[in-house]
């Protein structure tokens, strides 16, 4: 039986029921969080790592959850930070191995095509390439709005960014992707 959020928070605060309640949190939020993370990092293995780290960090930081936002928003915030950190780490790693002896890392299209858990056609590959060409934070904002259809207020709580800045970021992202498809003329 699934409990409502208030009950779940009370159980999380009690040390004797905390573990059981946290398992319920994982089961409730694993799929939506995975979808969000996967669209950012694209490859299943990476999304799996990021998602596990997200839940471990959430467990470690349970005492800091004051209930100002919903559990989902709080977890979204942790997951989005983890996903962005992962992208930054990968960027540094790719930059460090991308020299004359190692001529370029695999293009995103090649990586996605070789991922057995990607089932997209040519249009999807192009769209993912366009999204991946955005700065990391714009990529996050675009995915949350375009795919998850989140409201700006929710996004603002999850990302700790003002609604105005998010609107501007989304507008820029859409412009860039439209340009990528030659729709701006």
């Amino acid at each position: 039986m699934q409990r409502d959020e208030k009950q779940l928070i009370l159980l999380l605060r009690d040390e004797s029921t905390r573990r059981e309640a946290f398992a319920e949190v994982v089961r409730t939020y694993q799929e939506p969080l995975y979808r969000m993370v996967r669209r950012i990092v694209l490859i299943h293995e990476d999304a799996d790592d990021v998602l596990q780290n997200t839940f471990i960090k959430a467990w470690q930081g349970l005492d800091k959850f004051r209930g100002d936002s919903s559990l989902g928003t709080w977890l979204y915030r942790i997951a989005s930070h983890e996903a962005l950190d992962h992208l930054e780490r990968n960027k540094r790693l790719c930059a460090s191995i991308d020299d004359d002896e190692h001529p370029g890392h695999m293009s995103l299209a090649s990586r996605l095509e070789s991922d057995p858990y990607f089932d997209g056609d040519e249009v999807e590959l192009q769209l993912q390439e366009a999204i991946a060409s955005l700065p990391h934070k714009q990529r996050l904002v675009f995915n949350m709005k375009y795919y998850d259809e989140m409201k700006y207020e929710e996004m603002s709580q999850a990302l700790g960014t003002s609604v105005g800045a998010l609107k501007a970021s989304y507008h820029l992202a859409v412009q860039k992707i439209a340009k990528f498809f030659g729709l701006n003329e």
Binding site: V26, R39, I56, D63, F118, D119, L127
Partner: protein, 127 residues
């Protein structure tokens, strides 16, 4: 406006075929919870880190406390000592502090002790 155009363009390109392109291995979500839970520490460890600011604050409180204790205990004793000195001076009829620094008084003391200039010169030569 651009957003609508973009969505329309993507939909057209997809030719109405819309599905989840990001797949997961079979049974992935059935096992994820157990995998996550097995990695969590059994009990959350609450470690209290003492910041340097807190250390300095405690040190400042200790110093201020020591100063207050010193002043509370020492000042009455000093005052008591001063009062005893004043009382002794009053009994002897002159200012002892001034006596120590006044040549005229020093002369009086030497005269009272029966020491003349020759004895002083002899004393200084011997040592």
């Amino acid at each position: 406006m651009t957003e609508e155009r973009l969505k329309h363009y993507i939909e057209e390109k997809r030719q109405g075929k819309s599905h989840e392109v990001f797949k997961v291995p079979e049974g992935y979500f059935d096992n994820l919870c157990d995998r996550v839970m097995s990695q969590l520490p059994e009990k959350q460890v609450h470690t209290r880190r003492v910041s340097m600011l807190r250390v300095w604050r405690y040190a400042a409180v200790a110093v201020i406390g020591a100063l207050i204790c010193t002043s509370v205990l020492l000042i009455p004793r000093l005052k008591q000592g001063e009062a005893s000195l004043s009382q002794a001076e009053a009994e002897m009829g002159y200012d002892m502090q001034a006596a120590c620094y006044d040549d005229e008084c020093l002369g009086e003391v030497l005269e009272y002790a029966g020491i003349d200039n020759n004895e002083i010169a002899l004393y200084l030569t011997e040592y």
